[in-house]
Symmetry: D2
Subunit: 334 residues, 4 copies
Amino acid sequence: MDPNFNITKAGHVELLVTDLERSRRFYVDTLGFVVTEEDSGQVFLRGLEDRHHHCLLLTKSGSPGVGHLAFRVSKDEDLDQIERMVSRAGMFSKWVGIGEERGLAGRALLVEDAFGFPVEFYAQMAPEEWRIQRYDSYRGAKVMRLDHFNIMLPDVPSAYSWYVDSLGFGCTETTETEGKSPVLWAAWLRRKHTCHDIALTTGKGPRVHHAGFTVSDRASIMDAADILASSGYLESMERGPGRHGVSNAFFLYLRDPDGNRIELYTGDYISADPDWVPIRWKLNDPQRQTFWGAPTPASWFNDAMLVKSPRSGRFAELRAATIKDRPDYLLSDR
Amino acid sequence: MDPNFNITKAGHVELLVTDLERSRRFYVDTLGFVVTEEDSGQVFLRGLEDRHHHCLLLTKSGSPGVGHLAFRVSKDEDLDQIERMVSRAGMFSKWVGIGEERGLAGRALLVEDAFGFPVEFYAQMAPEEWRIQRYDSYRGAKVMRLDHFNIMLPDVPSAYSWYVDSLGFGCTETTETEGKSPVLWAAWLRRKHTCHDIALTTGKGPRVHHAGFTVSDRASIMDAADILASSGYLESMERGPGRHGVSNAFFLYLRDPDGNRIELYTGDYISADPDWVPIRWKLNDPQRQTFWGAPTPASWFNDAMLVKSPRSGRFAELRAATIKDRPDYLLSDR
Amino acid sequence: MDPNFNITKAGHVELLVTDLERSRRFYVDTLGFVVTEEDSGQVFLRGLEDRHHHCLLLTKSGSPGVGHLAFRVSKDEDLDQIERMVSRAGMFSKWVGIGEERGLAGRALLVEDAFGFPVEFYAQMAPEEWRIQRYDSYRGAKVMRLDHFNIMLPDVPSAYSWYVDSLGFGCTETTETEGKSPVLWAAWLRRKHTCHDIALTTGKGPRVHHAGFTVSDRASIMDAADILASSGYLESMERGPGRHGVSNAFFLYLRDPDGNRIELYTGDYISADPDWVPIRWKLNDPQRQTFWGAPTPASWFNDAMLVKSPRSGRFAELRAATIKDRPDYLLSDR
Amino acid sequence: MDPNFNITKAGHVELLVTDLERSRRFYVDTLGFVVTEEDSGQVFLRGLEDRHHHCLLLTKSGSPGVGHLAFRVSKDEDLDQIERMVSRAGMFSKWVGIGEERGLAGRALLVEDAFGFPVEFYAQMAPEEWRIQRYDSYRGAKVMRLDHFNIMLPDVPSAYSWYVDSLGFGCTETTETEGKSPVLWAAWLRRKHTCHDIALTTGKGPRVHHAGFTVSDRASIMDAADILASSGYLESMERGPGRHGVSNAFFLYLRDPDGNRIELYTGDYISADPDWVPIRWKLNDPQRQTFWGAPTPASWFNDAMLVKSPRSGRFAELRAATIKDRPDYLLSDR
């Protein structure tokens, strides 16, 4: 049965950074995010395609990580339905009042889900100028919008059930382990009509692996690599550029000055068909992660972002995965 | 109130062509559509991103035009709801039984709407191999999928009301006439999360102006122009390549060997926000049609495809627009 | 017989502009030329690939036009050989001493050739930082370097003889008139191993039709069009973007704020073969100018830049062409 | 003093392959080389930009490697001058008569140089149809032309002297070892006006490291990677796609079915300036090989192509380098 509320898309993400100026140089001066608003503690950023206040919120903090992920819903009443459901499921939640998070134009519901993730739901955000045809203001990587979250947790099958059965996400692609009794190792789930709004990956968690931001085309990703390489961010480029097997997108993974990870992403597909049959991949398929076969650096599996518990205000404690958390073909020395 | 059915996207279009072999050379050999199935009377084509039987159906016919447009719905029962609604509205409709249109995996409802257009609704189509990662089979313009229809009719405001209020489409952009009492001259309407599934334009109608097909990026459109120009299709390129103001997409308009018009299209935006405020353009804004200011050839306003009446089986009779059907900046000599 | 000097390439061009600040906004802020040096009367610009002081010199002047064109030669003694030759040919010339033109690192020879053009020859220019891998400083159209000059004059066959027989240029492509006694209508001539350093075109002259500057790829030209269209330079885009037949290059023709014309150009070929047979085009071939068949605006044939006479210091007087100066397929209304 | 002959460019290369059909699938069907002529023992290939018979010659052989490299000279008499010089230098050479190598339209001089490489010089080759504007025939990687050779040998400084002082090449870039007494480790040398016609690299030799072929733009290299990855050539992609530090070009290194190595290459620069000062790199600069910092697989330094001795008809014996043959940052596991 469909849920009685409508999540529309991955809405925004709050990254914790230790030095706002340093982060601003990375995200704004180098990658080309647009500053909507800022003060001494926060910078609110949006992409060139965004028509609302922010899709990326940088908050000054003692240590890096993720403050919260957020999904946008269709209307304010949807939030009440979600509150009822998470409450029934025994999850912690609290209302974020108007004015408590700048840019939001209504209340929001902040949930600590059963897997330990801080997930905010909101219906309204302040409108902002669309820059999509202000090509004269395009800079750096020309980031257009937030596309998706990728989260890492020990129990992907349970999270899959929560997102698909309770929150109404559709599944576009999966990764399963090899062997006679394959286990669901990762899943790509969507509300908007793209490959995904959120991906679930097996690993020590709760952690956020990365937030993916869309750029217009492959050229923008190549240009971003050139720009990063000539402006002191050589070490920021962790993986790529390359073509994904899963999602078919072209990618470049970056570590920001605090080590937080984002992805520049372009070229997946439209998934509007109601009967979409998930594309199934095997964990050790060398083309799954990178269609061109290039192995992935170990840091890509070792490192991910801690998440702040809405309940405790501290970073959530981690549990290790009980099945293997990476393919066998790993690139050992990076 | 939302409708009690769910249209998911522009599904497919039937183009009438007078010489199947000649059309096949254009659509398959030159543009790179994938042939799913064909016989002496029809060729069923899909794009590289399509996972179903066809998005373009070429039917041999005595004269060119459009057999029908088709929207896909979520489930079979949606068709009953639509039938009730069109029946109440006094429109002609008839069921297309399983097997009557090859590739459909269930019944379909063929409607002659109040504006004279043959519009089919269907829920199920036979699955086909996804070619998105068969890059070795990419050819020509590398057409990925159907994106939208653009139809021409005298009374856009009434059609707008039908699509938005009755069929549940959202409006992303509009064009209005100048002056003190501006009139809605065109509208871009969507179900899937892109700029549009259908555009309504003022002009003599009912006619279909074009069907838009997506390619991956600007390079594919440039490549298509080079290929067409070196393989005897110089005259097929009617307008572009260029950047649209409306939709922000990159485009190239083509006339097939029968004069039917299609668009190669790429680079619009994701419209998943529930509170999307339509972008409003003025008819005579020189950047509305082509963001770079290039005027449009007269043929672009003069010519469009006749549509076959589901009721009579003949081409629908045309009525002229009662307001002006084109901007003032027209390029006179093409 | 080969000449006893060695012209290496089109070196730089001096454009006369009436408002330096306005021109600087166009060339530097919008197109991305790099400023090497400037004062109240001149701005010295180079491209991202240039390793020397300037390839474009803007000089404040009462009216627009071209101050001089300049070719670089291999060594200082080459200038003496050229002086002897032009003197024998009865052309006016004068030495430009060290320090008279900023950036030059040796003397130069300024010639008024038999066709009325101010052509400078120089061997040495001050070196400057190479920006080719300073991708963080790429802006706008990302202009890389000067590629060629295109000049317009009544008597192309005579100029062809001067450039090929006396100055040692090779011919890569030609345009001839139709008919039983075809006449050489235009020629593309090169010293460096590309399509051309200078093109000769039939028309009222002496005038300079445009200076062509190289960008890295087609994407840069599309991006430039988007940037110009969104920063108030819509009227600057005179022709293109498109693909040339002649040269095979991708192009966009721009008029600067004074009406001076430049071309953004990319994608010709390497012409290092010693036995290159010129590609021959007919004047009315619709694919000659634009491979995709788009007609050319009338302004493209009507307008060109006046040139300053080295002898008189005034603009050279014009003589009309005695054969037709344009193809028949002209786009009449722009 | 300049030599009394004129080498114009890297002309062609003969690769030895063990299975012509298998190689044809790779070079023709997948990469898009154009077949000029073929028989049961040889396939003569050219690029889309080539106007002559072949730039790549595949010869059926018992084991892989390089038959010969070839440079084109301006005129037939240049060959006599070269013969005199190599004879004085004590090198073995022999004339290749007309008809002995198909496609050559005159005699050629085959030299075994002092470093053991089989280097052919020729002035005339049979003309062939230019495919540059036959975009309808572009396939696969859309290879345009041969760009350069990269050879590996123990003594780069001596080879540098031969190429620069005796053969008249210009040096565009170098790599030197670190330390107080840096040694020339590699050099990029050119006759045509690009980054290079031949690169000299320190290592066990004489071996040919790769032959570089030009494609039009970065998109063509990305497309090639996608095509190779989806047509069974995953293992062929040894390194890249990426951006070089040296040459600034975008690259993808491929191993053909026999393990012979070629490079797809695009986007270097024009080096027509007579006073070009070589760009100097240090061996361990992480951006030297790949501007984005990605390390290079060990195979890239271990493997290279054996060369056939013109004197003995057998593969030349190898001598090891006496200085280190690779940087320290090597990627160990590929």
